[in-house]
């Protein structure tokens, strides 16, 4: 009879049981050495998750606000002076076929103060702009409090604050009769005859509302908006628009963009700047990833330290478990089976650490994203990459200990007690 001497292969459950012996019997040690890898993977997953989530949040915001907004601003003349947009520019732009909305603002040289007691130099850098009536809808904002200018109030000394302007002026709510003091060329007199308080150097304007932040047109956030007729009447404004907001049919936006400069100022199209705010924001969303490399580097260092920890613990384990190795060899384990056992143990240890790290990174991403009202996005490359890195680290750091364990002669292993 021919003897069959095939060495049996361990089944997968058997291998899993054998590979986890060391981890089950030395739990604290296993947990501590897995911790290094967990921290590294968590850092990588969280960094990638947070940047993806914030990017997704920003892109969702841009999407909500629409990508069909174009802005026209006055540029500079050939001689370096500030150019002026023609008074007729908004009307001409409105005649471009696919254009659906045209709104505009015009800069005045006025300054704004909460009260006359504020020193004149403390302007807070706030601009006073004349604004058309449909502006909030065109730039994707709306009043947070009170209301925007209307056909009646645009003729009166009534102002609406941008979000940032309101906070710089220290105004967080609108109440009837609330006023701000606007000083500028030609701004003289008082709003209403009942003004009993101290004299405003310029002109008292009643506050009608405060706008929400305008993501696509952040210059409006820093502005105090008044009606065009009111600006002309009290602030010495000449009526030329300085910024025109153009909404068009989304599919035609590029075509509109090409003709916008020539339409705005047919005489000097080169003096006109045309831009698409959403593209700038999209670029900003893409650029956010650049900061991540530092944190990813820190995560990689942590992973490296974790790998050294695993290798160290496995080497100690091999020394401690000589008699187990000797016993297994005498029970019929081949060198290869001993090697596989210790290699699997190292990989298992690293994968446990990696899985814990992915979970921790994902949870911190979800928690942070929810506080920012973003959709939590954890890219597949982050969690799959984290786990793959853990497997790789386990394999590399377990290789030397596993080879040592397999090379140990069984008689030597049995001799030591």
């Amino acid at each position: 009879m021919q003897p069959e001497l095939a060495s049996a292969r361990l089944s997968l459950p058997d291998l899993a049981r054998v590979a986890s012996v060391g981890l089950r019997t030395r739990r604290l040690r296993a947990a501590l050495s897995a911790l290094g890898i967990a921290i590294g993977v968590a850092a990588i997953v969280a960094v990638l998750g947070l940047s993806s989530s914030s990017q997704a949040g920003l892109l969702a915001e841009i999407d909500r606000l629409g990508t069909n907004l174009l802005t026209v601003t006055n540029g500079q003349t050939l001689f370096g002076q500030t150019a002026e947009l023609p008074l007729a520019a908004p009307g001409m732009i409105r005649r471009i076929g696919p254009v659906t909305q045209v709104q505009y603002t015009g800069s005045t040289s006025a300054n704004v103060y909460r009260s006359p007691y504020i020193p004149a130099v403390e302007t807070n850098g706030l601009a006073v702009d004349a604004a058309s009536l449909g502006l909030p809808r065109a730039v994707g904002t709306s009043p947070a409090q009170g209301r925007y200018l209307n056909a009646a109030t645009q003729h009166e000394p009534v102002a609406v604050l941008g979000a940032q302007a309101a906070s710089l002026l220290g105004i967080d709510r609108v109440y009837p009769g609330e006023r701000i003091c606007i000083t500028g060329t030609g701004a003289q007199g008082t709003a209403g005859s009942s003004s009993a308080s101290s004299a405003c150097d310029g002109m008292w304007f009643y506050l009608a509302g405060i706008l929400k932040p305008a993501v696509l047109a952040s210059e409006i956030d820093d502005s105090v908006l008044v009606g065009f007729p009111a600006a002309k009447r009290w602030l010495g404004f000449d009526g030329h628009p300085t910024e025109i907001y153009v909404r068009s049919i989304t599919s035609e936006t590029a075509a509109v963009q090409t003709v916008l400069a020539a339409t705005s100022d047919p005489e000097a199209p080169n003096d006109v700047n045309v831009s698409q705010p959403s593209t700038a924001l999209t670029a900003r969303a893409d650029a956010q990833g650049a900061l991540n490399s530092l944190f990813l580097g820190l995560g990689a260092v942590s992973l490296l330290v974790g790998a050294v920890g695993v290798a160290n613990i496995m080497l100690i384990g091999v020394l401690e478990r000589r008699s187990e190795i000797g016993l297994r060899r005498s029970l019929g384990a081949t060198k290869g089976q001993i090697r596989t056992q210790f290699l699997s143990e190292a990989i298992l240890l690293a994968v446990i650490g990696g899985a814990a790290g992915v979970a921790a990174g994902a949870i911190s991403t979800i928690v942070y994203a929810s506080t920012k009202h973003w959709t939590a996005v954890i890219p597949a490359s982050a969690w799959a990459g984290g786990l793959a890195a853990a497997v790789l680290i386990g394999a590399i750091s377990g290789l030397l200990p596993a080879i040592r364990a397999a090379r140990l002669s069984p008689t030597e292993a049995l001799r030591t007690v």
Binding site: L5, L10, V18, L327, R329, Q337, L414
Partner: protein, 242 residues
């Protein structure tokens, strides 16, 4: 699988049943410059069902002999054959398979896994022999019953006395019915009364057909075995059958 070419010829010559263990002029030296001999020209053979004591003082070569018989080491020269398979003709993987299926070891220090039940400890005796897990447990339970621990399958080694632990180790060596069981100082870590019980168990198991080699330095232990091989300075000085 590779088969030793010498196997066929030796079987033809001997005509009778193949001995479980054959040693022919076995020499083992350690080191190279100069080589220190641990065993010199050892020859004997053990048939199926024998109970043999290998006895000698420390340094006589007992442990080396155990390792050679157990195929944990290869001889420097000479022939070691387990159930007719020449160890020199087998690769490491094949030797591992020989250990997994044909040789059982009992150690002085028991070498039990403390976190596992004794059932799992014994079942692990078959781990590398290719049996499915359920089959391993069935055989382990019957081996534990054979050594008198059938009622405590779920106990863990720390809950057991030294004698009981050695019974578990013996059950692990016996499980799967190997051709030969090698017991290295099986009573060395036990008091004399417990050692007596272990020897009684070994005799009983031998009575049931197991081939057992007891390696010991105690002549009292050796005296209980029908056949005694005395070693001194790496040589067999007597081989007596009671």
């Amino acid at each position: 699988m590779t088969e030793a070419p010498t196997l066929v010829s030796s079987r033809l010559q001997s005509q009778g049943p193949i001995p479980v263990l054959e040693l022919e002029n076995v020499t083992k030296s350690y080191g190279t410059d100069p080589p220190i001999p641990a065993l010199q020209g050892v020859s004997f053979s053990i048939g199926s069902g024998e109970l043999v004591a290998v006895v000698g003082p420390s340094g006589s070569g007992k442990s080396t002999l155990l390792h050679l018989i157990g195929t944990l080491e290869r001889p420097t020269s000479g022939r070691v054959a387990i159930t007719g398979l020449d160890a020199a003709e087998l690769e490491d993987r094949e030797l591992a398979a020989v250990r997994a299926t044909r040789i059982g070891f009992v150690f002085q220090q028991f070498f039990l896994a403390e976190h596992a039940t004794i059932l799992d400890n014994v079942a692990d005796g078959l781990l590398y022999a290719g049996f499915p897990a359920t089959e391993r447990r069935v055989q382990a339970a019957s081996a534990l019953t054979a050594v008198g621990l059938g009622a405590r399958l779920k106990a863990r080694p720390p809950q057991l006395s030294g004698g009981e632990r050695q019974r578990v180790a013996i059950a692990r060596a016996l499980v799967g019915a190997p051709a030969i069981v090698l017991a290295d100082e099986p009573t060395g870590n036990l008091d004399s009364a417990t050692g007596e019980q272990i020897m009684a168990l070994i005799e009983e198991l031998n009575g049931n057909g197991a081939t057992i080699v007891v390696i010991t330095h105690e002549h009292a232990i050796a005296a209980r075995c029908p056949r005694r091989i005395q070693l001194l300075d790496g040589r067999v000085i007597s081989d007596t059958l009671a």
